[in-house]
Symmetry: C2
């Protein structure tokens, strides 16, 4: 099958709501200060750094599948915590439910997510009489003091590495949710633990979990908050066989990370040993322009000198 | 003005949605296990116990006043953490907003709440394109190891003490939100710190913040999860001059706690020194029947042997 042109890819990605709605994030900069753009905030306590995050599930996900919404309300927070190189430990949640049946389905998803990813829920708050269904989960993770991976510290000359589990399939009703979670939890956790290993060995300069903004969009956020530019060669991104390229680039994978590193070979080796596909897909530079490459073509995706993914200009 | 009869008071309180909607809490017992009925869950880390909580703002509050909803989204979590005898430190939030204006008003409330109660926000997540307005905030507090106050440990023979700031007035549009927060933050924090003092001196057996279930309803939850009964004498509850008794009993005060203690005089002294009105209002017994007294009358409010506030039977 013929691949779409780079122009078409860029147009599609720039119009993708998963990416465009990140613009509203900028309005939080005055609230969270130095943690703006991080997957989780954090603080130190003795020999530990404690990562603290929260995520809400997009109403379109819950409209499509209440159980999946419950399950991923745990998963997306697990991703945030591992993206920092920390281990998720404890969670709390708020469920708003239109009715008892919806509440029970969402809760079942949360309980299964907690069991799969070995997170202990310490509190649940419920609005039993809501006019909508929604789930928000907050999570705490622990890391060895000084080891956390940040989003805004990508360095000029770094290689950009993507690691992702391509063994799965898109959710039936949510084409950009790639479900690779139907596996033994041991395997899923081993994949995620790659980030703790990289953090403790100090092998990466920055990292994020591949999430709602899609694979390329997430890299864009890392470059933007780092005050850098760079390129990504789309042809080098690990891909499942059963998904079209544009769909894949918009995807929130069941397990995926991008990192910026001076040790690409070691990093790829770590990811592979943890059961993820991994490849160098591009490089960081100081241009503040983020370009995409495909075959011999190269085009500007975002020019952070005068536009912003995160709503900062 | 003539006080309503005990029958009328009991009928009104038993029909109050702030209390009746607590029934849905029972459905969370399978998720949070031993922390069911606590104001916050917790875990130990070195010399600290870490309290972790979350609360969502009832949509009726946001329908009435977006700014107040933002402010109390911080306050209700601050209450949860102090109720455990811990100090609130860090928070994260999810805002869903119908439009940019609503988002900004809610955020202003959150920022003012964070400033007033000296809580640092580490992450904010926003749904900019929602069909409803909502706020959920999660919070972490720190306590000295082993000092935390629980909800389910009231003991037979304990005095029930209420401490509350009666200097304020009901919110214009929310008659059961009593706003006592229009004061120097130093005063507000000193009031709350009473609970940390009681926790560290080990002066109470159990405690909770007076919240949505109202003053009497909150005491009921403490007795129920403790597997106890007891009485409360309504005439002994500290009251502001500008609020009717039934309205007051349904109220979520700007600052209020109930505790169960073997040292009522010391506890009342601590609360008063921290700027709260405080009084012994009743006693804990082993009957599993919670009665209310008024003048010479005494009637059953909840019989936990065959009914439940928290949806446990």
């Amino acid at each position: 099958m013929r691949s779409p042109s780079l122009d078409v890819i860029i147009h599609e990605l720039r119009e993708y709501p998963g990416l465009t709605r990140k613009k509203s994030a900028g309005s939080f900069r005055d609230l969270v200060g130095e943690f703006f753009g991080e997957d989780a905030g954090f603080f130190n306590l003795g020999e530990f750094d404690i990562a603290f995050t929260i995520d809400g599930i997009w109403h379109k996900v819950l409209d499509a599948d209440l159980y999946w919404g419950g399950f991923i309300s745990v998963l997306v927070n697990v991703h945030d915590i591992y993206a920092m190189g920390a281990r998720p430990k404890f969670a709390v949640d708020v469920i708003s439910a239109k009715d008892k049946e919806s509440l029970e389905i969402m809760k079942k998803g949360i309980i299964d997510g907690a069991k799969t990813y070995r997170v202990v829920f310490l509190k649940g708050h419920v609005h039993p009489d809501s006019y909508y269904n929604s789930i928000d989960v907050a999570m705490i993770g622990l890391a060895r003091k000084g080891s956390l991976i940040r989003s805004n510290t990508a360095k000029e000359g770094d290689s950009i590495v993507i690691a992702v589990d391509t063994d799965g399939k898109p959710h039936e009703k949510l084409p950009y949710n790639f479900d690779s979670t139907k596996k033994d939890p041991e395997i899923l956790i081993k994949q995620l633990e790659s980030m703790v290993y990289l953090a403790e060995k100090n092998l990466v300069n920055a990292g994020k979990d591949l999430s709602n903004a899609g694979i390329v969009g997430t890299i864009g956020m890392m470059l933007e908050v780092s005050g850098k530019g760079g390129y990504v060669d789309i042809g080098k991104i690990p891909m499942p066989k059963n998904v079209e390229v544009i769909q894949w680039l918009k995807t929130y994978p069941g397990c995926g990370f991008c990192v910026s590193t001076s040790y690409p070979e070691e990093v790829i080796d770590v990811f592979r040993r943890h059961g993820l596909e991994a490849a160098v897909v591009g490089e960081v530079n100081s241009s503040r322009v983020f370009t995409l490459r495909l075959n011999l073509d190269e085009k500007v995706f975002y020019d952070f000198r005068n536009e912003s993914i995160l709503g900062l200009v």
